[in-house]
């Protein structure tokens, strides 16, 4: 695999979303939107993926910023993770998202990396990144799901030819907050629930989100329904900085006189999409917030998990994290 200067491309710097959509619409499959570039440029440098036309979004002011709206808060897709981490508004009302952003990679990456980039980043399956001709890359093999495949970081659920997982830290937080993703294309704007925004290999093996070529994620809307809830976010990774999760967990819950009244909880890096743990939600709603409920929730969370050769540790890990989320939130 050659590793040196990127292959050439043409660079466009639109100043408005309309222009960006127009460009991406024209370029179709050959176009590639770039924001922080931390993921994109790796692909180009490794020469595993190419783009003929790169559309640099960083000059589009309307994509930045955290705004209050009547229904909650709207975060522009180009808002950096540092801005999210340090936003007093988010820290006060949606702390789980600020906490998740704080655990993404390293300070420099958070300074340039955007919320849109973090949720749209490609999977970290090392076979796929290495440039193998796997299913996700358009081939006919999964190298990770073989008897000797090194699949410690891969999935417990949702395997369908591909066993890669979602690497994002903010995505489970957005699912837990019931966020709405605002997607724009030439035909206009539509709002998609965060849960439906991410797709597994059974829907489309070559993409991780519903974004089609020519579409942009322009904003994320956080509904006021979950503002000020009790939150929990934890990420377990090998290192304490610049690392992808082995498992991460995000929860939002309202506790009324010791009883869990409402809860949304999601885990990352156990499936190709951030996995909303609806079973846990059902088990704990109406139960007291205590160690016993937490233990039940942990057991419920891992039901049906199908481990690969090297990743069965994720089962007790997820169980423990769910337990902690319920107990300590």
């Amino acid at each position: 695999m050659p590793r040196d200067m990127m292959a050439s491309f043409e660079l466009y710097q639109p100043d408005s979303v309309d222009n960006a959509i127009d460009l991406l619409g024209r370029f179709g499959e050959d176009g590639w939107p770039i924001a922080g570039g931390n993921d994109t440029l790796d692909w180009f440098k490794d020469r595993v993926k190419y783009a003929q036309y790169v559309v640099d979004l960083t000059g589009i002011a309307e994509l930045r910023g955290i705004r209050e709206t009547p229904g909650g808060i709207e975060i522009g897709a180009l808002t950096t993770l540092t801005e999210i981490e340090q936003s007093p508004l988010l820290q006060e009302r949606y702390r789980v998202l600020a906490d998740a952003a704080r655990r993404v990679a390293s300070p420099q990456i958070r300074n340039t990396g955007t919320l849109g980039g973090n949720v749209n980043q490609d999977t970290r399956c090392w076979y796929y990144r290495y440039g193998t001709d796997c299913y996700r890359a358009g081939g006919t093999t999964c190298y990770a799901d073989t008897p000797q495949g090194q699949n410690r970081e891969h999935c417990l659920w949702g395997a369908d030819r591909c066993v890669a997982v979602s690497p994002s830290d903010t995505a489970p937080a957005l699912v837990a907050l019931d966020a709405r993703m605002v997607v724009r294309n030439a035909d206009g704007e539509r709002e998609v629930a965060a849960e439906d925004y991410f797709i597994g290999p059974d829907v489309d093996i070559e993409r991780m989100t519903i974004l089609e070529p020519g579409e942009l994620l322009t904003a994320v809307r956080l509904p006021s329904e979950w503002a000020g809830a009790k939150f929990y976010f934890e990420k377990v990774a090998d290192r304490n900085t610049w690392d992808f999760p082995l498992v991460n967990i995000a929860a939002a819950m309202f506790v009324e006189s010791g009883t869990i009244a409402r809860i949304r909880i999601a885990a990352g890096a156990v499936e190709c999409v951030p996995r909303r743990l609806t079973v846990v939600e059902e088990v704990v709603t109406g139960s007291p917030q205590n160690a016993e409920t937490a233990a039940l929730a942990g057991q419920a969370a891992v039901r049906g998990a199908t481990p690969l050769n090297y990743n069965h540790f994720k089962i007790p890990l997820l169980e423990n994290l769910v337990k902690r989320a319920i107990r300590d939130a």
């Binding site: 200067m5 460009l23 390293s106 990456i109 340039t112």
Partner: protein, 271 residues
């Protein structure tokens, strides 16, 4: 290895039409992007200082046979310099519009006409305005090191993983290896060379690094210093833990983390 047809293409591109799509100086993989035409040779003929520096891009393996290209371009005769001047002029016209994307005429993929960005741009580096010839696929680290001669910024992993290339963009530490130069047009870039005081004295962080013997091998030190400078500007009296968190995007393979933290705490104290 580099068939003549490629140079014919170059020649045709230069002579045949005004605007040409420019290919990376460093690129060798034509198959990756077959529709793009090459323009390596042109810069070699330029007398303009900026473009001469562009040629100086010292990549470990010279992908192109400079002599061969020169000869080829020489055969295609005349007006290389004029051509480059033409680009400069149009560059000025477009850059006056800043980021504005002015209409789509001539930019459709079918026509594969000039790229959206102009190659020549003004960068604000260490308080100076530097005119520089930048390729669309060039990272800030490449521009700083190989075009502007600011080799204090190091390239470690080139994958936004190690932090050796950290520079300040509008005062915010960023990995310059993973930032496109075109994306920082109009923003203030500070490199390790820009920390020097008016009389050549060292920045307090640099001085503290010396006093505390911060580095071992020193390769990651420019990046460490840039991150520390940004930290101390934002938070002049950090706790050791705050400093540790802020510095966590910089790797040190010698493991001199403890000494770096001592240096930063000392710089904060002395300042």
């Amino acid at each position: 290895m580099y068939p003549d047809s490629r140079f014919d293409k170059t020649t045709a591109a230069v002579l045949g039409r005004g605007p040409v799509v420019l290919e990376s100086l460093f690129s060798y993989d034509q198959s990756a992007c077959p529709s793009v035409l090459a323009l390596q040779g042109e810069c070699l003929m330029a007398e303009d200082q900026t473009t001469q520096m562009a040629v100086a891009a010292p990549f470990p393996e010279p992908r192109i046979d400079a002599g061969g290209i020169l000869a080829t371009v020489g055969r295609s005769k005349a007006s290389r310099r004029k051509f480059i001047k033409g680009v400069i002029v149009s560059g000025a016209a477009v850059s006056s519009a800043g980021y504005v994307f002015g209409g789509l005429s001539g930019c459709t993929p079918e026509q594969a006409a000039p790229g959206g960005v102009e190659r020549l741009l003004s960068l604000n580096v260490n308080g100076e305005t530097r005119r520089v010839d930048v390729l669309p696929n060039e990272t800030l680290a490449m521009t700083l090191r190989y075009k502007l001669g600011l080799t204090g910024t190091k390239l470690g992993c080139d994958r936004a993983e190690c932090g050796a290339c950290t520079v300040l963009i509008d005062g915010i530490p960023s990995y310059s290896c993973s930032t496109l130069t075109h994306a920082v047009r109009g923003r203030a870039i500070t490199t390790i060379e820009g920390l020097e005081g008016p009389n050549g004295e060292l920045h307090p962080v640099q001085q503290a690094m010396i006093d505390e013997l911060g580095p071992q091998c020193g390769f990651c030190t420019p990046g460490q210093i840039m991150t520390a400078v940004a930290l101390l500007r934002a938070n002049p009296n950090p706790t050791r833990d705050e400093a540790r968190f802020a510095m966590s995007g910089n790797l040190c393979r010698c493991g001199a983390y403890d000494h770096y933290l001592n240096s930063i705490m000392r710089a904060a104290q002395d300042a």
